[in-house]
């Protein structure tokens, strides 16, 4: 569904992605784990189109994605829940969700919103409140719900566990697992390697702009190098 080949990207003169190859098959949860500064977020920003690509290709459902501007990528089926959640804090929860469905003006928007509220009941309680007043975990749920309102076939999740309490993190990962049942493919970028690998089908390990390891998620969890470097076991 999503293929990345030889992807390079730079901030000014400093290259931060030195040729990334990765692949996501339809229906999978694939995770990219790695330490802070490994380039995970830059990779996702390239995929969503807000970061320029200096060379390499991204192919999404058989189409070259690089020339497609960021705001057109959702219409192709690629949604992103950006790092730091980036919800619209000055708007209400409901307005945030409606913006997720900005591209659509049909009856399905209401149905999708009901689905979102079923998936995240807490959002329903707070639907008319300013989104900035939600707790961190609720904001993360809102960000994911908003991304799903765009009817994606593939969802890019950037650090959904960032800055959240462990008990909330577990909840968030449960939700990510649930997204697969909606028929949405997920590319999950995480620092929390253990949590991410536990719910993923496959994983890639990223270090300073390279993919250093890849394989089945269970395999990676069992790998002694990973256990030492990322899982602290």
């Amino acid at each position: 569904m999503l293929t990345v080949e030889g992807l390079r990207s730079r901030y000014g003169r400093i290259e931060v992605l030195h040729g990334i190859d990765l692949e996501v098959q339809s229906g999978e949860i694939v995770t990219v784990v790695g330490a802070n500064g490994a380039g995970k977020t830059t990779l996702l920003r390239c995929l969503s189109g807000v970061q320029p690509v200096s060379s390499g290709t991204i192919t999404f459902r058989g189409e070259a994605l690089v020339p497609v501007p960021a705001y057109r990528r959702l219409a192709r089926g690629l949604a992103q829940s950006p790092e730091g959640r980036q919800i619209f804090t000055n708007l209400t929860v409901e307005e945030n969700l409606r913006l997720g469905a900005f591209l659509f003006a049909d009856d399905r928007v209401e149905k999708d919103m009901d689905d979102a509220f079923r998936m995240f009941p807490v959002l329903k309680e707070k639907r008319n409140l300013a989104a900035g007043g939600l707790s961190g975990g609720q904001q993360q749920m809102l960000a994911m719900a908003r991304a799903l309102m765009g009817r994606p076939s593939c969802l890019l999740l950037d650090e959904p566990s960032m800055g959240l309490a462990p008990i909330i993190v577990a909840q968030i990962f449960e939700v990510v697992k649930g997204i697969r049942d909606l028929g949405v493919t997920t590319l999950l970028v995480e620092q929390n390697a253990f949590g991410a690998l536990k719910i993923a089908d496959r994983g890639y390990v990223m270090e300073t702009g390279h993919i250093t390891m890849s394989g089945g998620a269970e395999e990676l969890i069992a790998d002694p190098r990973i256990r030492e470097a990322y899982l602290g076991i």
Binding site: Y71, Q80, N90, R98, L99, F102, A130, R146, G150
Partner: protein, 318 residues
């Protein structure tokens, strides 16, 4: 009964426009009121640009200048009816905003401020220097709109002051109604979204550049219409209408009153229109008092006067 904020705003505005004349000590206040409404129209445009979309312009007086001079020039040179000249001015402003807006709106923060500032100054310079056409700094006469005579023919006799008061009030109401409708529409929601986070706005499929441009063009039309009405009621126009001070005034009024809300911004326009009238006694200190008011509001009431005061009244329920 629960009213939507939109209906409430429009009702308050309509009531104020209709009822305040009963308290006017003299006919002069119609003139002040009409000026207030003209400023209110320009400021409503700023609410759309700055309050909804989060973009700043320090050059919107340039569009007011275009609207004003369209009403002065088009009737004289092309024999266009002044009412059509208002529309012509708005169209020219919209086209200019469209052409200039694309490159300018790529800028952010103070870069955008300075670029728009340059735009406003350019328009003012053209008006100042094209003497044969515009009369330069001396200004030029503007023909009668003719609507008052028409109303008289229908049996509705209004003094000049009364006519402009109610006419500008009506235009302001329509402008506010349009702005409030925009607020609640998907486009308005998208504008407020890009104000919050441009990155997130892109990820939900919003064409950020196009939307900013739309807001810029719409607000330019508001400024243009405001300039036209000012010129038509003064029956005279000078390049000051496009001047830097006028641009600053528009931003100041909006920010002072509360740039996030239509009623707040109009309230700000009201204060900055009325204050100089009150301060005529100590005219020399007028600028100083205005400056002081601005500084105090920015320090203590960041959201602007009206929203802050309303919040105090309601308590901290939001």
């Amino acid at each position: 009964m629960k009213m939507t904020p939109k209906t409430a705003t429009l009702l308050v505005l309509a009531a104020l426009i209709a009822l305040t004349p009963f308290f006017f000590p003299s006919g002069y206040y119609y003139r002040v009121g009409a000026l207030l409404f003209v400023n209110g129209i320009a400021v409503t445009g700023m609410v759309i640009l700055t309050g909804y979309a989060g973009q700043i312009s320090l050059g919107h007086a340039g569009f007011a200048g275009i609207g004003a001079y369209a009403c002065a020039l088009a009737p004289v040179h092309w024999g266009l009816h002044p009412a059509l000249a208002v529309i012509l001015g708005a169209a020219i402003s919209a086209i200019l905003a469209f052409l200039v807006g694309r490159p300018i709106l790529r800028l952010k923060g103070y870069y955008l401020g300075v670029a728009t500032l340059g735009l406003g100054i350019l328009v003012a310079m053209v008006l100042n220097n094209e003497r044969q056409l515009t009369g330069g700094p001396d200004g030029m006469a503007v023909p009668e709109l003719g609507l008052r005579a028409l109303l008289k023919g229908w049996g509705l006799t209004l003094s000049n002051g009364e006519f402009w008061y109610f006419f500008c009030g009506l235009v302001l109401l329509v402008g506010a109604w349009l702005a409030l409708n925009l607020y609640a529409s998907p486009t308005g929601r998208a504008l407020r979204a890009l104000h919050g986070s441009e990155v997130a706005a892109r990820t939900v499929g919003i064409d950020v550049a196009r939307l900013k441009l739309q807001a810029f063009v719409i607000s330019a039309v508001y400024a243009s219409v405001s300039g036209s009405l000012l010129a038509l009621q003064n029956k005279f126009v000078t390049p000051d209408v496009a001047g830097f001070m006028h641009s600053i005034e528009m931003v100041t009024m909006a920010v002072l009153g509360g740039v996030g809300s239509v009623l707040g911004a109009i309230f700000g326009a009201g204060i900055l229109t009325l204050l100089p009238q009150v301060l005529t006694v100590f005219a020399e200190y007028e600028q100083m008092v205005l400056g002081l008011v601005m500084v105090l509001v920015m320090i203590f009431l960041r959201e602007g006067l009206l929203p802050s005061v309303l919040r105090k009244f309601r308590g901290k329920d939001e």
